[in-house]
């Protein structure tokens, strides 16, 4: 799977597969492969989510620490 594939496109493919499977459109012969593919996709998506989450967590932590430092500054200002 290409690393720079988008979450949504992968998710769409996954959905398509799932749909097809649901419809029983997939021959039994391909079933294993398809499932494997889907599993990769899922793993990919999870990975993506994880990394996005971490990225956001970093951003938010940064934001929070920024606010905290500002608050501290203010408190220090208040103390002064």
């Amino acid at each position: 799977m290409k690393k720079n594939q988008s979450y949504s496109s992968v998710f769409k493919q996954l959905e398509t597969i799932a749909e097809k499977m649901n419809k029983g459109d997939i021959p039994i012969d391909e079933l294993g492969d398809k499932v494997k593919k889907a599993s990769h996709m899922i793993k990919f998506l999870r990975q993506r989510l994880k990394s996005v989450e971490m990225e956001i967590t970093d951003i938010l932590k940064d934001l929070e620490s920024d606010q905290a430092s500002q608050t501290r500054e203010e408190e220090r200002d208040d103390k002064i």
Partner: protein
């Protein structure tokens, strides 16, 4: 008829009278026209009987002679009885002892008096006096003249007395000797005899109506007590009581007061006493005047001094008050000015406070706005975070769902495939003829080896192969029975 001479006639008449009144008789009446003969010193008078309540009218009259010898004897007997100052006078009511006589020379009927009963006269006078007092008292005028005020000093005097009498002379000479100018208006009146009453009453009437009179003085020289009875007369007393001017009497009694004395403003024994009284009043007045003059000067001095002091006090009070006014006004102004000052300062500081409050309000509000915004941002941040986590959870759950879908779908596919296979398997099993054959069924094949399903196409003699569960039978068709 015999003709008589006058003297014979008179003698006969005298004899007849003497015969008729052979004894001493007593006669009562009022003395009238008393005369003492200058040479002989015999006393002559008439006795009259007055009509009741009449002063002047008489109803009978008789001449009387009181010869000197008899008179002296009578006077001696009075003296022996201790009776003094009983003088015969006109108007005196007397009871005489006498004999009747006729004076032949004159043909005059008269009585010759031997003596007079003083007791009768005095009793009569006393009775009259009591009557007078009673009348005065009952008519309420007894003290009327006493109620008047004697001017101080009394210098204008109406004098009732007989002119040229000792009383007049005494009175006037004392007044003259005094340092004061008395003004005496004389009313000449008989102070004895029967005209006394009328003249004194007239005198009072005239003098009280004379202008500028201060008082009336009625005076006479000393005399017998019997002569005082005029001054018990009701008319004199009434005139005195009702007189507009104070009446002062000096009518010469020593022991008893006459009713006139009692009724008058003041009384003295002698004219001299009256004059001395008036002079002493004048002295007193003059002394008083001198005193008053001194007092007056002193008083006016004092009054003027006091008034001046009052005035200067008022003036200084005016000054002080005016100063107080202006200084109070200045103080008022000062306090007003300082109030004004403090008010403006207060006002300014109030305004400063307003501004300070607004300043604070502005700062607090702006801080509040900032803080609110800060909170809003924080909320927004939390909202964003919530959004993020929901996105994640949704994404995760959709991924999980997709796994479930996958497994469900696969299971379904496989199950379906299995079902299909089973169906086919069953079908094939059913198709497997051996199963039918096993139950006793058989298959009949035609010549072409085709399984026969109907009689049609089979003919007699055809050779048919019948397959059984185990083994085959080959047979020929003998007949057919179509259904």
């Amino acid at each position: 008829m015999s003709c008589l001479t006058v003297s014979r006639l008179n003698e006969i008449a005298k004899n007849a009278l003497t015969l008729a009144f052979d004894k001493e008789i007593s006669v009562v009446g009022e003395i009238h026209g008393l005369k003492i003969h200058a040479k002989s010193s015999h006393t002559y008078f008439d006795l009259i009987e007055k009509a009741p309540d009449s002063r002047d009218q008489y109803i009978a009259k008789v001449s009387c002679a009181f010869f000197k010898g008899a008179y002296n004897k009578w006077e001696n007997s009075l003296r022996r009885q201790g009776i003094t100052a009983f003088a015969l006078t006109d108007g005196l009511q007397v009871k005489v002892r006498a004999r009747i006589d006729l004076y032949t020379k004159e043909g005059r009927f008269q009585i010759i008096i031997h003596g007079i009963d003083p007791g009768y006269t005095l009793g009569y006078i006393a009775k009259k006096r009591i009557q007078t007092i009673e009348i005065l008292k009952s008519s309420g005028i007894m003290d009327m003249n006493k109620g008047l005020i004697l001017p101080f000093p009394a210098l204008n005097i109406g004098l009732i007395t007989s002119k040229g009498s000792a009383a007049y002379n005494d009175f006037v000479s004392i007044l003259r000797k005094s340092n004061y100018t008395f003004n005496v208006a004389l009313f000449n009146a008989n102070m004895q005899g029967e005209n006394t009453v009328n003249e004194v009453v007239k005198g009072i009437e005239v003098l009280e109506n004379t202008p500028f009179m201060d008082a009336i003085v009625i005076t006479r020289g000393g005399g017998a007590k019997a002569e005082l009875f005029y001054f018990d007369d009701i008319d004199i007393c009434k005139a005195i009581a009702r007189c507009k001017l104070p009446v002062i009497t000096g009518i010469g009694h020593e022991i008893d007061l006459s009713v006139a004395d009692m009724t008058s403003y003041n009384y003295f024994v002698t004219p001299t006493d009256v004059a001395k009284f008036l002079v002493s009043r004048a002295d007193e007045f003059w002394n008083k005047i001198e005193q008053v003059e001194g007092e007056l000067i002193l008083a006016s001095d004092t009054i003027i001094k006091d008034s001046k002091a009052d005035l200067s006090e008022l003036a200084s009070m005016l000054a002080i008050t005016a100063q107080k006014y202006t200084s109070q006004a200045i103080n008022n102004l000062k306090s007003l000015a300082s109030t004004l000052g403090s008010n403006t300062i207060n006002m300014l500081s109030t305004k400063r406070q307003h501004i300070a409050r607004l300043q604070e309000a502005t700062i607090i509000s702006s801080r509040y706005v900032l803080q609110t915004q800060d909170r809003v941002i924080t909320e927004l941040y939390l909202y964003i975070k919530q959004g993020i986590s929901s996105i994640f959870s949704r994404a995760l759950s959709s991924v999980s769902t997709s796994i479930l879908d996958l497994s469900r779908a696969n299971l379904f596919t496989i199950t379906q495939a299995k079902t299909t296979l089973e169906r086919l398997h069953t079908m094939f099993n059913a198709m497997d003829p051996r199963a039918v054959l096993g139950r006793g069924y058989s298959i009949t094949l035609d010549l072409d080896g085709r399984a026969l399903k109907e009689t049609h196409g089979v003919s007699r003699g055809d050779r048919l192969t019948t397959i059984l569960y185990k083994g085959k039978i080959i047979s020929l068709v003998e007949d057919k029975e179509p259904i």
